[in-house]
Amino acid sequence: MYILAVDDDPIILELLGHVIQTMPEHELVTAECVTDALSVIAAQDKPFDCFLLDIQMPRTSGIEFTKILRDTEQYRSTPILMLTAMADKEYIDNAFEAGATDYITKPFELHSLQGRLSIVEQLVAERRKNPTPSYAAKMLRDMSPDDLVYELTVDLHQPISIMDVDGVIENHAMENYVTQLSRKSLCGSVVLGFTIRHIADLHECLSPFDFMCILTDVSEAISDCLLPTRRLVSYAGNGTFVCVVEGAAHIDIERLVDHINTYIHAMDLCCSDGTELNIRVCAGRSSRLIWRKGDGAIEALHQAHISAENTALKLERENGNIWTVAQSA
């Protein structure tokens, strides 16, 4: 991988150089501030595959730099690992919200850093092999529906990256987020899943572009309706979103689902050809993340996913197979 590390502490940059020297598959470029990093990026002939960013830097912080990178086409989904001596959940939440992929706590063990870079390398390799999610997101922004309707394919079960929605992060970033946070940091948080009802029907009858639009709009509705509570949302595939919500142990799920559905209804969602869509979500059971960490926290995300999908299946069985696209379709 071609890596850019930005940290105002030269010792950190030297340590990174030392680690990467032992990994011939990587090449490291360093900068001591964001201004220098931007100059380095502008002067490069080939794009970087990964960024290692300190959070706390004078003038422009690593979090602000992450936002700058995410606003560029080239680095919209490039892995960004935050290097932080700050264990505060608030900094970590801000980093993930800005688009960070993962974070490494300083001081770091050299072997551990090597391991984390290898994981990122796998992610980069996978994306090169199968660029569909970011491809889909790019299409959404840049191309007209007529241009892409026959080109884009979206796998129903794939955790697609949804871009440019506040509070919505990539699914693997969500897994990193819950895996890395300490038990203490997670103890006030709950995990909760929402599934778009009749998602298989929607996937079957909508164009990939329209399907992506629905996912994006619903993610925005969920993220906005969870405010003002601190939240992170990711799309886990099969019409299901998993959310980590802070300080919501006694969340009124029924009321929240009503709020989200009202919000979605107010969006007047329709297909590219103008056909109205009646999109509704349902929620699974919430579970607290206290005592969960590492694999246990990932398991909690999977359980939230399954629980939301089970609710959707149950509602489908109870209400019959309602066609969600208006009869005018």
Partner: protein
């Protein structure tokens, strides 16, 4: 400077860290005196100390000085916590910073050797 073990590949970086630690020690001492003696600029002086402690806590552990890193982290958090609570810096806070200073002195004078993994 430290006497590195023969297979200590981090020795060059550690030596640079120790050189910088001497400078950082001077910076902390100067700002600590300012914080203690000049109430008007105490907040700014403590913010500068916090920044230096932040850097020490980020690398000391990796280079074999885990106790220094932990002490710097605790003092850094104590400064941040006092600032957020808008309280006057306490004697306990100054003592924490002095503890870190003493550790940096012991390390730079080689009274404390690094723990090399």
């Amino acid at each position: 400077m430290s006497n590195p073990a023969p297979n200590d590949s981090l020795a060059p970086i550690r030596n640079r860290f120790l050189e910088m630690l001497e400078d950082r020690q001077v910076d902390i001492q100067r700002d600590l005196e300012l914080a203690l003696n000049e109430q008007e600029t105490a907040a700014e002086a403590l913010a500068r100390i916090e920044g230096v402690l932040h850097k020490i806590s980020g690398t000391a552990g990796t280079l074999g000085y885990a106790a220094l890193g932990e002490g710097a982290r605790v003092a850094e958090y104590a400064i941040a916590s006092d600032r957020e609570a808008s309280t006057q810096p306490s004697t306990a806070l100054f003592m924490q910073i002095i503890d870190v200073l003493e550790m940096t002195m012991d390390i730079t004078s080689q009274d404390i050797e690094p723990r090399i993994a």
